[in-house]
Symmetry: D3
């Protein structure tokens, strides 16, 4: 039953990171709900274009998010 | 940036389980995206009423999901 | 895989109508995707409060929607 | 009022299937809610990339879903 | 066409504020898209329970959000 | 906290219009919730392909929506 949807900005995460994300989120859910629920646990990743995500009115690009992740830019 | 939304059937999880879910999902995301992204990581839990969730046309109640979690009912 | 989500105003539809809705939507999907996909087909109903749905800036209540459905009010 | 959103994996369904899906889902809703509600009934299809949909932690591609639909692979 | 969905924590905003929110969001959209699009512009408010919204792993209650809005608590 | 999501048909709005949309929607929210909430206010734009949006069973393309906006086609 549980449906986990993750919204991301396109281009921020690599394929390997997305694969790891799916795995870790599924394990996080199974740790709470129990192993019997694993096959019912869905994870969907949804990507929006850079610039189509704004915080406090400031549109964020993939590069800006990567700079935050790298500690080169404040949140 | 990342926004994690979890859809659940109301009444399946206790408050303690929901708190643990939020914590584990946040840690799962931070493990992938890096510590600098923590304050930008959102988790929202959304609950729908029992019966308002159907798999293969069969509506599921909270009790049925709990029975699956307890291994008393096949998925 | 296919996930069908229906947003509704709370109180417009009876339990019997919601059950019929789940059944008919599932059959509609299976008619397109094929019988083998039935067990992977999800339907979720989500209800918002009357007044929390607006068209052209006009907030709609459950009673107004029922009046439209009954032909007592223009759309 | 009713808003039907369908999430799909990109590339699983043809344009013709998507057109049929919209038509059948609309008819399913109108059969429950009544003909007067037809012009208020919305259907939106949303596609995510293959691999961005996981069940039980297993990421699904469009080809895998097509193989399930064709009965060449278990669900 | 445009569909504006607003997710809120239940109990943060009064009915009067929600009515104003719907009006202002509709006008914001119409200012961009043009008056002819008004009747196609939808706004839906969705409320989640206090505690079911977390930023950086910290669950927020309606009272905490109100304290932030009142300037009695840092964001 | 408030999360504003706008679903649009791809190709209807220019980059400049999308930038204006984000700005106006953020100001609309801040006008209701207060200036202290600005940095917590998120706006996400999500685009679906032309044809993947249907009203009353009729699929709408970007060109059709533009014609409505220009007053060259009834809603």
């Amino acid at each position: 039953m549980p449906l986990v949807t993750v919204k991301l900005i396109e281009g921020v995460f690599s394929e390997a990171q997305k694969a790891e994300m799916v795995e870790r989120l599924t394990e996080a859910m199974v740790a709470v709900e129990g192993e019997n629920m694993r096959s019912l646990t869905l994870v969907i990743l949804e990507e929006v274009k850079g610039g189509d995500w704004a915080v406090g009115g400031k549109r964020m690009t993939a590069d800006q998010v990567k700079a935050i992740a790298a500690g080169e830019r404040p949140t």
